[in-house]
Symmetry: C2
Subunit: 342 residues, 2 copies
């Protein structure tokens, strides 16, 4: 079914049908009604590629989960609860605004090229990037500097000022600070940290928050009770076993997955959570509420990130530029049972 056929059925020209579809005001009300009803009756939907070719911009957003393989590991960060949830929220929100979402998982430079091709071929009008390392000049040069993009979890400063670019971040620093400060208020002075991947902004900033809180409380900063993890359960488990050989009473883990597996390590060593060791995570994944003891954590409002993303994109469609260049989302401490006063 084409607009020509609809036009014939309606006894008007294709131009008029097109006007109705595009909400052009220059159509007599009753003509519009009539055409609309015939369209509905016939389940007519315009052929998207034809509209695209004629100049109507795509309504498809590219959502790119950057997951360049870390070392030999076959586990992928893109498979973590955190990413999956965020992807989900973004899709959901996008659909509510009438956008479609093309999701790609980028695990190699080749796929980064394919991502760029999606812009060039006009499949997508904009892209959202999550999971990239804080420094990634390839990504910057090939895509971010060329096309309208939203970047999640990446430093704003490193990028050239540009109204085609928006950076959205959690306030990871504040979250890390609050988590650590909370432990300090409970009386802990020997607080270990299992960080996230320190090539990612969230890993860096949560760690920085931890350091600042220790410093503000005049507690000594001891690298013996700090380990660099990678946000995956595995590293939380392994590194907790290491840290536990030191003298500590609490651990701040840079995400919940690592916190849960750290708890396993703690229990395996015959210690109790929170009686012997307090544990606090980050993200607030669902399952954290269902383990024993339930997990104290820092809630990352992923839904807010998704909303900001799509609202910004919606504005961009109308105005051809973003209204801001940077958005920061507040986190919230969620106190449960894995932490205890000393």
């Amino acid at each position: 079914m084409t607009s020509g056929e609809i036009a014939k059925l309606c006894g008007v020209s294709r131009a008029t049908v097109s006007r109705v579809i595009n909400n052009d005001k220059n159509v007599k009300a009753e003509t519009r009604e009539m055409i609309l009803s015939i369209i509905k009756e016939n389940n007519y939907v315009p052929i998207a590629p034809a509209r695209r070719l004629a100049g109507i911009a795509s309504n498809v957003i590219g959502l790119f989960v950057i997951d360049i393989n870390i070392s030999e590991s076959t586990t992928r960060v893109s498979k973590s609860t955190y990413f999956s949830q965020l992807v989900n929220f973004i899709i959901d929100q996008a659909n509510n605004f009438g956008f479609q979402v093309l999701v790609s998982i980028v695990t190699s430079v080749k796929q980064l090229n394919e991502a760029r091709d999606l812009f060039i071929s006009r499949m997508i009008f904009s892209g959202i990037f999550i999971g990239a390392f804080n420094e990634n000049s390839q990504l910057d040069d090939m895509i971010i500097s060329q096309y309208p993009t939203i970047i999640i979890d990446r430093q704003f400063k490193s990028m050239v000022e540009n109204s085609n670019r928006l950076v959205i971040n959690l306030d990871n620093f504040e979250g890390g600070y609050e988590a650590t400060q909370f432990l300090i208020k409970l009386g802990h002075t020997r607080i270990g940290h299992i960080s996230g991947d320190l090539r990612k902004l969230s890993g860096i900033e949560r760690y920085e928050g931890y350091k600042k809180a220790l410093n503000d409380a005049n507690l000594c900063f001891d690298t013996n009770i700090i380990r660099e993890g990678n946000f995956l359960e595995d590293s939380g488990y392994l590194l907790a076993h290491e840290i536990l050989q030191e003298n500590i009473t609490a651990i701040f883990c840079a995400n919940d997955g690592m916190a849960i597996s750290a708890i396993k390590a703690i229990k395996e060593r015959g210690l109790k959570v929170p009686d012997d060791i307090s544990v606090i995570g980050f993200d607030n994944i669902v399952i954290g509420n269902y383990i024993m003891p339930s997990l104290t954590t820092v809630d990352a409002p992923l839904q807010d990130i998704a909303r900001e993303c799509i609202e910004a994109l919606n504005y961009f469609c109308k105005n051809k530029h973003f209204i801001k260049n940077e958005i920061k989302i507040k986190t919230n401490l969620v106190i449960r049972e894995s932490t205890k006063e000393l």
Copy 2:
């Protein structure tokens, strides 16, 4: 940049450029080389909508996560680890085969209409549906009977034979049977069951497997120790508390999320896993390996499902029909610490 500009740079016609892009054999080898190098040099990528319009089929797959709201609950099944993982694997696999994936979360009949429009507007050439209720005539009538689709977790029998349709399922029955049989072999005779959503095939079949195993072992089937859950953590927790008022020594939960939260309920009642109650889940989500005790479960090879999906679609692209109508994926028992000999 258009094929015309490339043609000019190469001193050939647009037709020849088009031929090399589409791998037509009727191009002199050296001409092809030359054109290819100019294309690469200029980062030329054909405008996708123009190719579509000219008749080249879309390479975009629609991936629809059906999640019509159950009751008043705001929690969504589409946000569960299981779905997220599967979606991820499918995207990954699709990208490897050169397909793009448009993901939609369908939470209303309106969005079901939008899904259909994606086919009509030629945005996608095929769709993969997951999460639908076993009986959903709307979905069948509007989409599945009209367009080439792959359906995951739905009964084959209810659909008309058609080479444009492929059903892929886990062997949920066998998985449920094995899980229950394993508990029986450990000496358990009072085995409770917290089922999944019984409007979904996976919920039904896992339950059926449980029943059959009891029956084959001549154990009594007692509805007092069975509850209908909905695959979400919440229901596992609540229903475990109910079941635990009965006399049981083991619970088979229809997925890991419910199993983990059932363990919480068990512990809250002062009982121990596995000493007092054995628990077995289904799916084998990552975190199950990191709780204490680690979770015995039935592994659902989601990666296999994804591979079958994309291979089938790849075949479909070349042959305009699927090679089979139904694929069943075997599950595997994963024995860990949450189960124990009586």
